[in-house]
Point group: C2
Chain length 141, copies 2
DNA sequence: GCCAAAACTGCAACTATATTGCAATTCACA
DNA sequence: TGTGAATTGCAATATAGTTGCAGTTTTGGC
């Protein structure tokens, strides 16, 4: 996809979700669109280069995106939160993530999925199930 | 279990895992033994009261316990890491955790389990699979 | 295009969480 | 009971995320 197509796509997504198409939001969404794995605030900022908005702004955009389900947080072994688009997930289940305990790299396992948990005690309502696998990646095993 | 039985149990576990039975390690392990859910450093310190070791010591003990598999870290929605004994888990899979998005409480779902993920691409080696569910607990739903 | 309201951004200060270095203490075991 | 190794506490530091507020940009109605 060309960069201008990507920009158009980001703008469409923002409009559809009733967000303003500000420079910062478009830029950040583009980074998420081209990434094949969840990114931390730190990584996003590095990818965005000179034009990058303020750290606080990055956090605030991510928070807004999360609130409306455009993006979600992934809770991994790393200390920092990571963020990814929700498009590879169903309402109730996020695709599994694999994190290499050697190199620290995270992989999205978009091809695999697990059933939703059953037999929960009465009263528990599931919003989202996340699966988080720890191990060695092909490069480190 | 009486307090002295608990102490004995903690000491046995420490010895079996080749740890010294220091006051701090016994105290901390006792807290983990009586807890039915993963605890953060903060929560551990609160539970230990006056006799509580230094924050840094708590982190260091937890780290040592994790290294030898006595304890493991759970990666949840909360910003702080949580720790629990490994005894309710199999080698490859930790029991699922449920975190209420309303009250923030975490529940161990020791009765339920999911199959291990299959069909991973060649070269991936699984060490541990964690399942993390987000939703509403009986009190909040 | 121009204007007002709403949404968004940047800066500075701050809070929470975890880590490091090093000297002092405690522990296991001969 | 003495000794080396393991453990601990304190102070300083690093890292991650948040808050308040003033200023800027964006949108939507004219």
């Amino acid at each position: 996809m060309t960069n201008s197509n990507l920009t158009t796509k980001a703008e469409e997504i923002l409009k559809a979700a009733k967000f303003n198409c500000t420079k910062a939001q478009v830029l950040l969404l583009k980074e998420l669109l081209i990434s094949d794995k969840p990114l931390s605030r730190e990584e996003l900022i590095q990818h965005m280069g000179q034009k990058c908005p303020d750290t606080v702004t990055v956090y605030r955009i991510l928070e807004r995106f999360c609130e409306r389900g455009l993006v979600h947080k992934v809770y991994l072994q790393s200390r920092a939160w990571k963020y990814e688009l929700g498009h590879n997930c169903t309402t109730k289940q996020c695709h599994p993530h694999f994190t290499c305990s050697d190199c620290g790299e995270t992989f999205c396992l978009t091809g695999s999925s697990l059933p939703l948990i059953k037999d929960l005690k009465k009263g528990f309502v599931i919003h989202r199930q996340q699966v988080n696998i720890d191990g060695l990646c092909p490069a480190c095993s």
